[in-house]
Amino acid sequence: MREHLPILLVVLPMLAAPICSMLPRGRQAWLLATAVSWAVLAIAASLLIRVHAEGTISYALGGWPAPIGIEYRLDGLNALVQVLVAAIAACVLPFSGRSVQDEIDADRQPGFFALLLLLITGLLGIVATGDVFNVFVFLEISSLATYGLIAFGRDRRALLAAYRYLVLGSIGATLYLIGIGLLYALTGTLNMQDLAARLPAVADTRTAQTAITLVMVGLGIKMALFPLHLWLPNAYRFAPSAISAFLPATATKVAIYLMLRFVFDIFGVGFAFGRLELNEVLLALAAAAMLSASLAAMQQRDVKGILAYSSVAQVGYIVLGAALATPIGLTASLLHLFNHALMKGALFMAMGCVMLRVGRTDLDAIRGLGRRMPWTAAAFVVAGLSLIGVPLTAGFISKWYLVLAALEAGWWPLVILILVASLMALIYVWRVVALAYFAPNESQRREEAPLSMLVPLWLLVLANIWFGIDTRLSVAMAESGMRVLMAGPP
């Protein structure tokens, strides 16, 4: 049993999904999905502990050894990302119970939870696998589930957002497919480790350069890297509350993980950043993302829109750290990947609570929230402070590392950039907070969200504070991930 845990992690939600879709009532489906998500979290955590104790776990699917068959390969990096995905899922699912009841027709709820489980399956599969084509298959599972889930949004613009994401996402996946096809043509293998070993021999070819470009562009779409982020804001904005809480914390993070894996582990920094100088392109894009998306966030009239654009900006932060390609930069990048999931999850969950009680999330709906929903509003404030990067919150820690990394690399302008973007975050977050606490509202009725939503929300909020004060765990994890990446191709 113990040695099959890596595959069980992915197969468990996969098998639960059809059962879930066949359950007659939404409530039962919700219970099943929640139970599965907790089991998944337990497995993911145990795997992470095992990776740290025993080193990399390799699991040959079907018993065929690596390049012949498909391999699941867990190291300090992806075991961590798996835990992140699982933990967010385990928080979002209990939370989703009430909001789904409110937002989605009763007869479609089991299907909703089934799709959500499939989304989790897809994400976990992408992270676990050591085979580039298998990545494509699971990428499509997660993508299709995402398109379907976004389309569940009540607003009819959700359909349009889902459609646009489908078109762009399919283009991204196809570009990725071409890229790995070219790599395959050059090396004859699809296994990541094997690819990494065989690539240096053909690195000089134009084909290899094209392949890496295509893979990066394809993943760039999936992770919403500027300027390929156009699908994201509306998708997050109009998706059902539970989905907009889940996606930003996981889906883009998994795509970023994949990019890191390709750049550092498969292509190798020397090739991708040294010869191709992709790091400079990435730095420029990250900088543009941070500035332009923060500006756009400041102009939004809908809080979910603000948060969505802010997510695009935060992807910039993460890419920035990675593009520096120094140990401390990568640590910063991974830390921010983790911390941003915590804060964005919490912020979108708070908006889910508002959606439940007020029915909309535009700035007018926020007026007087401090009175009407004190706990929700307070959660938004704390998570918002974390987003700004105020000390004693998780956001501070990752930004600290980022600035330190930029300083170490001697990139002064980047330091200024990070700080300017933080100040812009201050402006767009505080606009919401000020409305929540100081804008008068006719209705002063107290209408706090139910406990089933507040508890997961505050769990994430407290995690934001915890990882802002006691950073031993998060920094150690990020550093072990960093070491995996810095070790480079085998």
Binding site: L385, I388, G389, V390, P391, L392, I397, W400, Y401, V403, L404, L407, E408, V415, I416, L419, V420, S422, L423, L426, W430, A434, Y437, F438, I469, D470, T471, R472, V475
Partner: protein, 485 residues
């Protein structure tokens, strides 16, 4: 009690008290009892800490590791001990005053007010005891955030606007300048530990050190050196107890305290003497002293006038610190205390006038000395402290600054002090003249409630007493310069 426990209690007592307040929010009397007790206990523990320190105990507390190699840690040094005692000592009268003020004004959300006040005091203690720059920065930000609900307490449009300026300036300067300055320091020196003699010597070219110092001085927005002073007048929308303790003592002194710490323990006065640009910062502070006084001359609103006066007086301290003369540094420490006593008295008086007579403008103070003799007498003492006339605390501190400037041949500083003393007299004395030598008008009214009166009389008395008994404070601030030869 072990010193470590004492430090922890300094930090946590206000928080615990605040938590208990929240629990007792339905019973005002119990709540207020808790508040006063908490303040008294905090003062006691700060005092005990000071005594421990004077016995020569090494007071150091590693709380937890925030970032690898960077702990959240506390260490007592002379200035910090002084600041802790000062802030917690003045909290006691302020809490009395606040109780009287809020009750008389029938303010809403009194529990919330007291709670955030407790948090702010706790943050101030954290700043006072901080053992490295990171710890200081963390509590600096906590102080900013915890005072925001206090500034906007009234909740009307003006309060929100004031709060926006307050938070905007303080957070923007600290994130935009102080944080990078700190990271730069860490990058260059490899540590942020406050160390006697500084940590930067020989690690940074003098020109760059000048830039770093500029980032620190402007980044510490709480010190209100122009052009980063706008938040202080804006913060005057807050209820008067907040203006009195926080925006005359805790917050602004946290600012100059931070600058002093940076000058003494990060740069080191010796190293800073070799930095050419340091001279220009003295000029900037001097300019702030004069300019703020000139602006204060033209204010009619009492609290705004006092705010500009505070800006001016803070820059005295910054200027004296940057003068780098041992005597001036001593004077800076003394002035922190003297100004605290004087300015809190002035604010107390302003609030008492507001509560008893609903007057906020200087031009409405005719004959107030006869209606509210206690209040206006205290106001007079505060005003004398600002000007620096004996027998008030302000005289002592100014004396040391002048002596220091003379010692270091800084005639610019001398000129600034002389000129600003004249300016201070110009805006303070007309108020006293109005209050005591003009006939009262309007409806008759008495003094403010007794808790407020007790508070303002005690702080006024303290500022007179300090003139006569400044030896212990002097000894402490002397040891500060001893720490930085």
């Amino acid at each position: 009690m072990s010193p470590q426990l004492l430090m922890l209690s300094c930090l946590c007592l206000p928080l615990v008290g605040g938590g208990m307040l929240l629990l007792a929010h339905r019973r005002p009397r119990l709540r207020e009892l808790i508040l006063v007790l908490t303040a008294a206990l905090s003062f006691t523990s700060a005092l005990a800490l000071l005594l421990q320190f004077r016995e020569g105990n090494l007071l150091r507390l590693d709380l937890l590791t925030l970032l690898p190699g960077l702990d959240l840690m506390f260490e007592i040094e002379p200035l910090g001990a002084l600041f802790a005692v000062l802030a917690s000592g003045l909290w006691l009268p302020t809490s009395l005053y606040a109780i009287g003020y809020l009750r008389a004004r029938k303010e809403e959300h009194q529990t919330r007010f007291h709670f955030w006040f407790c948090v702010a005091i706790s943050a101030t203690m954290g700043i006072a005891m901080a053992g490295n720059l990171l710890t200081l920065f963390v509590f600096y930000e906590v102080l900013t955030l915890s005072t925001y609900p206090l500034v906007t307490h009234i909740g009307n449009r003006g309060a929100v606007r004031g709060g926006r300026v307050y938070l905007g300036v303080l957070l923007a300067t600290s994130i935009g300048l102080l944080l990078p300055a700190m990271l730069w320091t860490l990058h260059v020196a490899g540590t942020l530990q406050f160390t006697a003699g500084g940590i930067l010597e020989g690690k940074l070219a003098p020109a760059l050190a000048g830039l770093l110092l500029l980032m620190f001085v402007l980044g510490v927005g709480k010190a209100a050196v122009m052009p980063m002073h706008r938040w202080l007048p804006a913060a005057m929308v807050a209820p008067t107890p907040v203006s009195a303790l926080l925006h005359a003592v805790a917050v602004v002194k946290a600012g100059v305290f931070t600058i002093t710490k940076v000058v003494v323990y990060i740069f080191g006065t010796g190293f800073l003497g070799t930095v050419p640009a340091q001279r220009y910062l003295v000029y900037l502070a001097g300019f702030t002293v004069i300019a703020a006084s000139v602006v204060a001359l033209r204010q009619d609103n009492i609290k705004r006038l006092l705010a500009y006066s505070t800006i001016s007086q803070l820059s005295y301290i910054v200027m004296a610190t940057l003068a780098l003369a041992p005597l001036a540094l001593t004077g800076a420490g003394l002035h922190m205390v003297a100004h605290a006593f004087g300015k809190i008295t002035l604010f107390f008086a302003a609030g008492a006038i507001y509560v008893a007579a609903h007057r906020t403008q200087v031009s409405e103070l005719d004959g107030m000395g006869r209606r509210m003799p206690w209040t206006m007498a205290a106001f007079a003492i505060g005003a004398l402290t600002m000007i620096g006339v004996p027998p008030s605390a302000g005289f002592v501190s100014k004396w040391f600054i002048i002596a220091g400037a003379y010692q270091a041949d800084l005639y610019f500083v001398l000129a600034v002090i002389v000129l600003s003393t004249a300016l201070n007299a110009f805006y303070m004395l007309p108020i006293l003249h109005r209050a005591f030598f003009r006939a009262p008008e309007g409806r008759a009214h008495g003094e403010a409630p007794w808790p407020m009166r007790v508070a303002l009389v005690s702080t006024a008395a303290a500022s007179v007493l300090m003139f006569f008994f400044h030896a212990p404070i002097l000894a402490l601030t002397r040891s500060l310069t001893g720490a930085a030869p």
